[in-house]
């Protein structure tokens, strides 16, 4: 499905700020995989997503999505088959445009000069009703009036309205309050399951890293430290993860945010 072969990326090469963010990293993602990715700050998790989505070109290596080499494909072309959500709920929607207009843009059916038809309007309304947040009655409201959780749920809907080949979730619930966060996570699980999406999710929450999806990757210093799935993963606890990090990297996991996160 997605095959990442030996990609590397160094930011600011040749300067004092030189940072090797990805270091000969390879991952093979199977069709239908839901992979949670954990790692300390600066481990290269978000950089990995940037490389896959095409925010920058990697220095080396190849990225192959569904049999197609996308290593140098421009970001907006990749976006046709890759949906992406960020931690900041403000990043995924246009605040001065209505819920309907935001969704219509994401749905993107019809030609450049086509307008939203009555049928589309009804379809979008029904889609929004699935979020169960009462937004279907506010289709004409600007998105800027919604709460962070509502905006993030809407962003999730926009990213998946045309089921993408790959969904990238970059700590998409981290900026929300616990209740909303749980709600958005529940929605995510539901949509990923129903649409049978292949999904990569960065999380700082080690519990949800083990409970969501079918595979867990731990990243460190631009590499995959370990990759666990199946039976091994089913019997793993957060303590085991911390211990595995210590034995593999030779360091302590010193990220309070990861260790203190509950629920």
């Amino acid at each position: 499905m997605l095959s990442i072969e030996n990609i590397s990326k160094t930011f600011n090469p040749g300067t004092v700020n030189e940072k090797r963010a990805l270091s000969s990293l390879s991952i093979n993602v199977e069709d239908g995989d839901f992979i949670s990715i954990i790692g300390a700050n600066g481990a290269g998790k978000s950089t990995l997503f940037g490389a896959i989505a095409g925010s920058f070109l990697t220095d080396e290596g190849r990225i192959i999505l569904d049999g197609e080499d996308i290593t140098v494909t421009p970001e907006h072309i990749r976006a046709r088959s890759i949906g992406r959500l960020f931690q900041d709920p403000m990043k995924g929607t246009a605040p001065d445009m209505t819920i309907e207009e935001n969704l219509a843009l994401a749905a993107g059916s019809g030609g450049w000069l086509s307008r939203i038809t009555r049928r589309e309007r009804e379809e979008l309304r029904q889609k929004v009703a699935l979020l169960d947040m009462g937004l279907e009655d506010r289709m004409e409201s600007p998105v800027g009036l919604l709460s962070g959780g509502q905006r993030q749920a809407l962003s999730l809907m926009m990213a998946t309205i045309n089921p993408p080949k790959l969904l990238l979730l970059d700590e998409h619930t981290a900026a929300l309050d616990p209740a909303t966060s749980a709600k958005v996570m529940e929605l995510t699980d539901k949509i990923v399951r129903e649409e049978k999406l292949t999904c990569l999710m960065i999380t700082h929450n080690m519990n949800s890293a083990l409970s969501s999806g079918n595979r867990t990757l731990m990243m460190d210093e631009g590499k995959v430290l370990f990759d666990i799935k199946g039976d091994e993963r089913a019997h793993l606890s957060v303590e085991d993860l911390v211990r595995m990090f210590r034995t593999r990297s030779g360091r302590e996991l010193d990220n309070d945010r990861m260790l203190l996160a509950d629920t």
Partner: protein, 304 residues
């Protein structure tokens, strides 16, 4: 009252013709969030191209010709800022400078063209309504038709998928960058369309006053911005149709105030100072208002 009516008519004519430039800015400045400073040069470009084509005997062709020139100007401005790494403000300034030479070249090396005996869209309409009740209103008819056509087009355009994409590009560039919308494309299309409006505005103004001067467009961006900001204080609705109407209203009110001021012996050369002051007030007003509480607290502290 009898002297007041022609005043309003003049303000309406010039306001409606000028409103096309204001609508161009509504698209580039309010929607796309690009401060397109090539407006002045583009306005003169439309005026000179339109004049040259009309003088060569094609009054109706002058309009699409001027608009096409505006598209070209908008394209180059957009290309400079999206593909050549030129800052968006700077690319407008550079275009302005370049267009000065281009415009004189178009006018055959002269900085002034006279159209006193030229057949234009206005003279055609004048001949058409001659002896009727609208005989004095021929300029108004053309100006109104142009403003209505451009406003109608803009209203529909902003609701199409490309229009929504342009609005999203201005509203949340970060969202657009990670979406399947190509921000380079939306910026280019947006500035091409707004360039065509600006050029049409210049073309009509030149034909209405029967002459083109190389300075016809100078200061136009500030005047249009003043009109745009006046319009937005009148109509605060989020509805696109009302905002477009408000923009046209702003252009009219600006002209009306200006025309009245002229009647009260304000010298004509004050226009640009007045429009600059309006823009400053409109932009810094909300800023100062938001900063005032802080300022008041500091002042209070000092007094104690």
């Amino acid at each position: 009252m009898a002297t007041f009516l022609p005043l309003i008519q003049t303000a309406l004519e010039l306001g409606l013709i000028g409103s096309l430039t204001v609508l161009a800015l509504f698209l580039s400045y309010s929607m796309l969030n690009v401060c397109d400073l090539s407006t002045d040069g583009c306005f003169t470009l439309g005026a000179s191209v339109g004049a040259v084509v009309a003088i060569s005997g094609h009054p109706y062709l002058s309009i699409p010709a001027a608009m096409l020139a505006g598209v070209g100007s908008g394209f180059i401005t957009a290309f400079l800022q999206t593909k050549m790494g030129v800052d968006s403000l700077l690319s407008g300034i550079i275009m302005n400078t370049a267009l000065y030479s281009v415009n004189i070249a178009i006018m055959g090396g002269s900085s002034l063209l006279n159209m006193n005996k030229t057949e234009t869209v206005f003279t055609h309409i004048q001949a058409l309504v001659k002896d009727g009740p609208l005989t004095d209103a021929y300029k108004l008819i053309v100006a109104f038709a142009a403003a209505a056509a451009v406003a109608g087009f803009l209203y529909i355009f902003l609701k199409t998928r490309i229009g929504l994409s342009i609005r999203a590009t201005g509203n949340n560039p970060e969202m657009v960058r990670s979406s399947s919308i190509n921000p380079v494309m939306t910026t280019i299309v947006g500035l091409c369309v707004s360039g065509s409006f600006t050029a049409l505005s210049g073309c009509l103004l030149a034909q209405a006053q029967k002459s083109v001067n190389i300075d016809i467009g100078s200061g136009m961006v500030t005047i249009a911005l003043a009109s745009l900001l006046i319009g937005s204080t009148f109509i605060k609705s989020r509805r696109m149709g009302l905002r477009i109407c408000g923009t046209i209203l702003g252009a009219f009110v600006f002209r009306l105030v200006y025309t009245i001021a002229l009647r009260f012996n304000m010298p004509a050369y004050m226009l640009k100072l007045v429009s600059s002051v309006i823009v400053i007030i409109a932009i810094s007003g909300p800023y100062i208002k938001s900063k005032y509480p802080e300022f008041a607290r500091r002042l209070e502290k000092k007094r104690c």
